[in-house]
């Protein structure tokens, strides 16, 4: 993000081109976690771990009659992309899925993907209570994957207006609204 080698001249050039591009409203930039070129073999979690993650994310944000579940809008893939981008996070997610599976075996006697929703929720509540920091990783990244998703934005009628697109239309201030206040005596202490 920061420009180690940037000079004032280069900065000025970039400012001019940025203003031109943005004013035109045609510039679009990819999201931080856009499509990567990695092959399937490079996936940081194995299929079983991905399944665990999928079922867990879908208990964090389940589907209802209007909204999709977290995994339905690419939640697992979102996390995989993040782990690809920041490999240091890989052990965290491996540890998270291991904890979920371990707790599932201990609490319900079966794999997390094989138990019913009620038991999965119970497993996650236990982890939330006993390992809140680890649980927070699951919750925060699930929320992040969900609420940065275009489909979800559309469903909740959220237009993000990223800078570089045409901004929202807003009415200018109606100064008449201030008529009462304008006629108030001055309120500040004179000193």
């Amino acid at each position: 993000m920061n420009s180690n080698n940037w000079s004032r001249r280069k900065f000025t050039k970039a400012v001019i081109s940025a203003q031109a591009l943005l004013a035109s409203g045609v510039l679009t930039l990819p999201m931080a976690c856009a499509e990567s070129n990695k092959s399937e073999g490079d996936t940081p979690l194995d299929n079983s771990q991905e399944q665990t993650l999928k079922f867990a994310m879908d208990e964090i944000i389940p589907a209802n009659d209007k909204m999709p579940s977290a995994s339905k809008v690419g939640g697992v893939n979102y996390i995989l992309k993040i782990v690809e981008e920041f490999p240091d996070l890989s052990p965290l997610f491996i540890s998270l899925t291991a904890k979920i599976e371990g707790q599932s075996l201990q609490q319900a006697g079966s794999a997390f993907s094989k138990i019913n929703s009620e038991k999965r929720i119970a497993v996650l509540i236990t982890i939330e209570q006993t390992e809140p920091e680890l649980f927070k990783v699951l919750k925060d990244f699930t929320y992040e994957s969900y609420y940065t998703n275009d489909t979800v934005h559309e469903l909740i009628s959220y237009e993000p207006y990223p800078t570089g697109t045409t901004g929202p239309e807003m009415e200018p201030l109606d100064e008449k609204l201030l008529d009462r206040v304008k006629n108030t005596p001055s309120m500040f202490t004179k000193i």
Partner: protein, 530 residues
């Protein structure tokens, strides 16, 4: 610029450093500024991306806190006390104006005289009227948007650009203020609503804290710095100052700094001006120890780092039945109220606070406190997009026990001791916040809210007071001209020189103070000595 020719060394290229560098260069001084960060590529701003909110919710290179950015040019700030603040700052050309919201209120005249008026803290050695011409000048330099005529503030000239729109949430708040007959007014912003000079008008995207590539927001890399550089000022980026050096008579000699490659460099100047913010400035002064100044520069009375002020804050949200579109429009504040700004002893506390109508972030941020599980969507649907926010900014009176010191364990990427900020709310502030919650709830309900959410109070961490200006050498670090006591050619110009914090955002006062200090430096230390 040749190192032997430098009149003024400015340390820090943020709001104050840019203003001081421009003003002194404009007058004819040879100015070099050392900045530990670099120029920010405007096309790299998160505001350009739909996932911009991730920079609020997790570590990232545009997080508001240096502790969560962890970039090479950042330095850690550890925290302590009963109410440790959330530290916000940015280290780059432009400083914290890069991620600032652009809210641009002024102090009131009473804010400079709280000892005289209310018997608390100390008076500033200057008055509002000493700063007033500099406020005006700065407003025109950066193209402030707003509307003159506010009865809660002294008169000011027609704002260079018209006010930003209120939007639906703003109009809803107006309904509440009008119903109660309370004061409200549209905010001055360091965001231009019309093209101004070479900067394009705000397009209302509302991602101001995540970088404004348009240049509508008055970040100093887009306002003062181009002018200063055109006039001959030199800015050395990726240059982190280790210590300010002194000669054997006790005058400031220059600075020792790490360059981009981590090599030690020395620079000399006739005058040194420290503009590193309310944490960076005391940190540098305390790290500048010598035989003559064993406790750090300007710290003969032990006041460097004391009286740290941050602005106690509450973010209070009204939940409305109808959609409020609170996330649409320039982030920050379309309007404010100073109904409870001046002291009224019957309220049980001294001084007062401002209420800022606050736009909301997007859905990711608003979902943070929504429970997970089967009720998630229903609970989310209750608050989004139905929130209208009010932010309380409380006057923070100085307390000697609130401090910035050197951390005895943490260091930055050059091995320089990190800062430690210790903060606890005073009883006066607690009473003030309690009152503000009641009044915020009242106005939100009057506006039609069906529910009001009051999270725990927080601290905005506006960084102020740690090298304060005073009427006496015994209880302050700098004099009325921002000169450090006992060192004739060392100046501190930033929020650290505030004697009191007032109940408003500080940047317009930092910049006005910097313009005034530059005049005094020119008169007393550069031109006057040449």
């Amino acid at each position: 610029m040749n190192n032997d020719d430098i009149d003024v060394l400015v340390i820090g290229a943020g709001a104050a450093g840019a203003v001081v560098s421009w003003s002194l260069t404009e007058k004819g001084a040879k100015v070099v500024c050392l900045e530990q960060g670099g120029w920010i590529d405007p096309l790299s701003f998160p505001s350009l991306k739909p996932d911009y909110e991730t920079h609020l919710t997790r570590e990232g290179d545009f997080n508001l806190s240096p502790n969560l950015r962890n970039r090479k040019e950042d330095y850690p700030v550890t925290t302590d006390g009963e109410n440790p603040p959330f530290i916000m700052m940015f280290n780059a050309v432009g400083g914290s104006t890069i991620h600032w919201q652009g809210i641009f209120p002024r102090f009131h005249p009473s804010d400079f005289k709280v000892k005289t008026l209310d018997g608390v803290a100390d008076d500033w050695p200057i008055s509002y009227w000493d700063l007033e011409p500099y406020y005006e000048f700065n407003d025109k330099m950066i193209g402030v948007s707003g509307l003159n005529g506010d009865p809660a503030n002294p008169p000011r000239t027609k704002r260079p650009t018209p006010p930003l729109p209120l939007g639906k949430m703003g109009n809803t708040l107006v309904r509440g203020f009008e119903k109660l007959g309370w004061h409200w007014w549209v905010n001055d912003h360091g965001i231009i609503s019309k093209q101004y000079k070479d900067r394009a008008a705000c397009m209302l995207h509302g991602k101001c804290m995540f970088g404004c590539p348009m240049g509508a927001k008055a970040t100093t890399d887009r306002t003062y710095w181009p002018l200063a550089i055109d006039k001959g000022a030199e800015i050395r980026t990726w240059s982190r100052v280790k210590e300010i050096t002194v000669d054997n008579t006790g005058k400031a000699k220059g600075a020792i700094y790490f360059d981009k490659e981590g090599n030690i460099q020395e620079i000399k100047a006739k005058v040194v001006v420290v503009c590193c913010n309310g944490i960076g400035t005391p940190r540098l002064l305390l790290n500048s120890k010598s035989n003559l100044f064993p406790d750090g520069l300007g710290n003969g009375n032990g006041f460097v780092g004391k009286n740290f002020m941050v602005h106690p804050t509450h973010f209070i949200n009204g939940i409305f039945e109808e959609s409020m579109d609170g996330h649409i429009g320039p982030m920050g504040s379309p309007l404010f109220s100073q109904e409870f700004y001046e002291t009224d002893e019957s309220r049980g506390f001294k001084r007062g606070y401002m209420l800022l109508g606050e736009r909301t972030f997007g859905p990711l941020f608003q979902a943070q406190d929504i429970p997970w599980g089967k009720n998630h969507h229903a609970e989310f649907g209750k608050i989004f997009p139905h929130q209208v926010g009010l932010t309380v900014v409380a006057d923070d009176l100085p307390e000697e026990t609130n401090t910035v010191t050197l951390d005895d364990k943490e260091v930055d990427s050059n091995g320089i001791a990190a800062a430690k900020a210790t903060y606890s709310l005073s009883e006066n502030s607690k009473q003030m916040l309690h009152h503000a919650v009641e009044k915020s709830t009242e106005v939100l309900m009057a506006a039609g809210a069906k529910d009001v959410i009051v999270p725990p109070a927080t601290n905005l961490a506006h960084l102020m007071g740690t090298a304060r200006m005073g009427t006496s050498e015994k209880n302050s670090v700098v004099d009325k001209n921002n000169k450090v006591h006992g060192i004739p050619n060392l100046y501190v110009v930033d929020g650290s020189s505030f004697t009191t914090g007032a109940g408003v955002n500080p940047t317009s006062t930092i910049m006005a103070l910097a313009l005034r200090a530059a005049d005094k430096i020119w008169e007393n230390a550069v031109h006057g000595k040449s």
